[in-house]
């Protein structure tokens, strides 16, 4: 019934240390001395969750408040679930090994759509009533945040609160409000009522949604406290935002095992398929001085020998070169490697790569996303073939022998020529290798061509477009495969089945709620891991619930249609999305924020580096 029963048999499960906590820099507080308890859950395995920087920031931020006890919870692996079942142990936290149901607040980070079922399964493992309406005064408040919370409608009935936007400030306010409600002895209804008044908090049960067939007819607040639209929260000045000086260093190896600092938020680019590019607007940067100081402290306190600069597009950091010099000045003598993920092709600098990766020579990774110049204009990915060739030539000249290329298939307005252009681009890279003077003689080149299925996402100019049907996608894959002729090119196609369910859930509405409940009842869990995912399983679920996945994934929405997420305000206006969509139709690119502000609406949130004053 408790951790002590599990403990005796913990060596029976794989990697037992991931259920024990007690790692360096973990924070273990006395339950008797803290007023508010917060179970911070990540709906994936420990190794994935602990790699997530947002989790580390918010864990430290919550625990810096004296009255708060924030403890971590990860999705247990199947063998652990079996052991929990045998010992009749409910889901427990890592720090004090307390049942998750005993916490005041239970929060989930929603990073991708396929984790929804894991969230619900964890609620069941915690023995918390699945539906929010069935929870009583003694049950925790269930809160979700993260990128998928902007449209969390498919799980709307299971959550009490949704955080829209960046969690640092609203997190503090949430925990303070819980303390206030506890002190005043507020019941659940009153607590939710007060939360509806907190900026950046969405209470799904305070809204009624009416449907007209597959379309949303109306979204209406059913309480006076509930605003008609809920606006996301952002941190205007990132230099003043909380950033941890140390964070938990796991014993075991995790996916991203290194110190990382976030250099900026948002992205100036506006690639039309990219949800992150819009939901994190406007673009804000941290000063190089702050970053340098934070990074140094972080490395000292964690002992990591790799430091990563995180952002959506690191090359767009205005002071990148100087920052890299500053960091290298102390990192290099200590044997700390710098990693710069998310460098762009166009202003890609092999010099920079050389400077930061002296010790470990990895391959070059490029993401042109689309094969033809026309298609790249459609998606507003401002990368030209000349940029790609310049980058690979520099790389080959510098001794690289492998290149990874990322593309998407099924983008809006795609023609067969655009698909063939993907294969052609890969071929040109192979040819460039053999034409390169500086290449390593006698060594062969390897080009790995990774092609994912496009998933239309809410809060993008492509939120209206249909996803390709399974048949059409299969035809396109075949076409592409036929045009890959060199054995130096290894084509891998991302599983279209998962992309389909992602597309259903990403633009889903509350009609999906019973399907989610049924899927969880039938055991859906950790679906982000391909061995746990099955499209047939979902098709059966949809059929039993009288739903058709195609209505979500493959239906074109009119630009005048009320969307399931119309009551959520991310700052960027529909008018802007529609105008970008129109431009995409005629393959017209848009300038980026640094070149020219297009008045997308995000300026009203404040803090944007390039936003024009209105």
């Amino acid at each position: 019934m408790a951790y002590s029963d599990i403990e005796k048999r913990l060596t029976e499960v794989k990697k037992p240390s991931r259920y024990c906590g007690g790692e360096v820099n973990s924070v273990i507080k006395d339950p008797a001395k803290t007023e508010v308890s917060y179970a911070f859950c990540f709906p994936d395995l420990y190794e994935v969750g602990m790699s997530h920087i947002g989790m580390k920031i918010l864990y430290s931020a919550a625990n810096r408040l004296d009255f708060v006890r924030c403890e971590r919870v990860f999705a247990p692996d199947r063998d652990m679930i079996e052991l929990m079942r045998e010992t009749d142990t409910p889901l427990f936290s890592l720090e004090n090994k307390l049942p998750v149901a005993s916490f005041d607040l239970v929060g989930f980070s929603l990073q991708y759509e396929l984790s929804y079922t894991t969230v619900l399964q964890m609620l069941k493992l915690a023995r918390i009533p699945l539906y929010a309406r069935d929870r009583g005064d003694g049950d925790p408040l269930v809160i979700v945040g993260g990128p998928c919370s902007y449209n969390s409608e498919p799980i709307a009935d299971f959550v009490d609160l949704v955080v829209l936007g960046e969690g640092e400030e609203v997190g503090d306010e949430t925990l303070e409000l819980i303390r206030e409600c506890k002190r005043e002895g507020c019941g659940r209804a009153e607590t939710l009522r007060r939360f509806a008044g907190l900026k950046g908090i969405y209470v799904p049960s305070f809204y009624d949604v009416e449907y007209d067939g597959v379309k949303v007819k109306s979204i209406t607040p059913n309480r006076p406290e509930a605003p008609a639209r809920i606006r996301k929260r952002i941190i205007e000045d990132l230099d003043k935002a909380f950033y941890p000086e140390s964070y938990v260093v796991p014993y075991g190896e995790i996916v991203h095992d290194r110190a990382s600092v976030e250099v900026q938020r948002g992205c100036i680019r506006g690639c039309r398929f990219c949800q992150a590019g819009f939901i994190y607007r406007p673009f804000r940067t941290k000063s190089a001085a702050t970053l340098n100081a934070t990074a140094k402290t972080l490395c000292e306190n964690t002992g990591y020998d790799e430091l990563s600069l995180l952002s959506l597009s690191t090359s767009d950091y205005p002071e990148l070169s100087g920052l890299v010099d500053d960091l290298n000045a102390w990192a290099e003598p200590k044997g700390i490697n710098l990693a710069l993920p998310s460098l762009r092709v166009d202003n890609f600098s092999i010099e920079l790569m050389k400077r930061v990766q002296k010790l470990r020579k990895s391959g070059l990774t490029l993401a042109p996303e689309a094969g033809s110049e026309r298609m790249r204009n459609v998606i507003n990915k401002n990368v030209h073939e000349a940029d790609i060739m310049r980058a690979v030539n520099a790389a080959f000249g510098g001794g690289f022998t492998s290149v990874k290329l990322y593309f998407m298939l099924g983008l809006p307005f795609e023609t067969d020529e655009d698909i063939i252009a993907i294969a052609d681009t890969a071929q040109k890279v192979v040819d460039a290798y053999y034409a390169s003077e500086g290449r390593q003689k006698g060594k062969s080149v390897s080009v790995s061509l990774s092609v994912a299925a496009f998933v239309p996402k809410p809060f993008t100019p492509f939120q209206y477009v249909p996803q390709d049907t399974a048949e059409e996608h299969a035809r396109k894959q075949k076409l592409l495969r036929e045009h890959v002729r060199s054995n130096k090119i290894k084509l891998s196609t991302h599983d279209a089945d998962t992309s389909y369910i992602e597309a259903v859930l990403a633009r889903g509405d509350r009609r999906l709620v019973p399907a989610m409940a049924l899927a969880v009842e039938r055991g859906a869990y950790l679906e982000g891991w391909s061995e746990n995912f099955s499209l047939d399983f979902w098709k059966e679920i949809f059929a039993e619930c009288g739903l058709n996945g195609d209505d979500y994934a493959c239906r074109e929405r009119g630009t005048d249609e009320l969307l399931p997420w119309s009551h959520i305000d991310i700052g960027v206006t529909d008018r802007f999305f529609i105008s970008e969509y129109e431009k995409a139709k005629c393959a017209a690119a848009s300038p980026n924020c640094a070149e020219k502000c297009l008045g997308c609406g995000a300026a009203s949130l404040g803090g944007g580096r390039y936003c024009a004053k209105r």
Binding site: V24, G252, Y304, G335
Partner: protein, 207 residues
């Protein structure tokens, strides 16, 4: 360059940390403590560290050790407090000194075993002549005469304390528990085990 031997305890939940993870954890601790130590040369340099043979997952210890090399004049006496400050209580560094022995000089280990069965009867069973302990190795099963392998078997503080050989003819406490079940019918399902003391070949406490 001087060798330094770090002695530490591995207790509580830290017993679920695998040996490989432990090595990684100490390497990072050395960096956090900002100790100037010797790194291996080559493509992927790492701290040169030597550990005792791995402790089985699930066992605790009060007497673990690893050796590394200091490349500056840091007094050995400073090493323990500096490491202690950057490690969790469950991996407590107790001592650090310049060793006069090799880690391979450890000949015997004292373990304390706790389980739900009569410990006195267990000690008596292990004291009997002719009891054999079976140990599976890569080359098949080896049968060891318990009387010669077990240096001591006694009850202390409610636990069964046994002294087993380490090194080439090493035995794991698990083998002893299996022998108790097979020949004594003790039916022990799970037990807690703590490594308590290391000894040199002459029976003196290993340092």
């Amino acid at each position: 360059m001087r060798n330094v031997r770090v002695r530490y305890e591995k207790t509580g939940d830290a017993r679920f940390v695998s040996h490989l993870d432990l090595v990684r954890t100490f390497a990072r601790a050395v960096r956090r403590a900002d100790l100037n130590v010797y790194y291996t040369e080559g493509f992927n340099p790492h701290i040169k560290m030597n550990f005792l043979p791995p402790l089985s997952l699930g066992y605790e210890s009060l007497c673990e050790a690893f050796d590394m090399r200091l490349i500056d004049e840091t007094p050995c006496a400073d090493v323990a407090p500096r490491l202690r400050a950057v490690l969790p209580e469950l991996l407590r560094v107790t001592d650090a000194y310049e060793p006069e022995t090799e880690l391979t000089d450890v000949a015997f280990v004292r373990y304390a075993l706790r389980f739900d069965a009569d410990v006195n009867a267990a000690a008596a069973t292990l004291g009997r002549e002719g009891l054999t302990i079976e140990k599976k190795t890569k080359r098949g099963q080896i049968t060891v005469d318990a009387h010669s392998a077990l240096r001591e078997a006694e009850v202390a503080d409610g636990a069964l304390e046994i002294v087993l050989p380490m090194g080439e003819a090493s035995l794991n406490p698990r083998h002893v528990v299996e022998a108790l079940n097979t020949y004594g019918g003790f039916g022990i399902e799970d037990f807690r085990c703590v490594r308590k003391q290391l000894y040199a070949a002459d029976g003196s406490v290993f340092r």
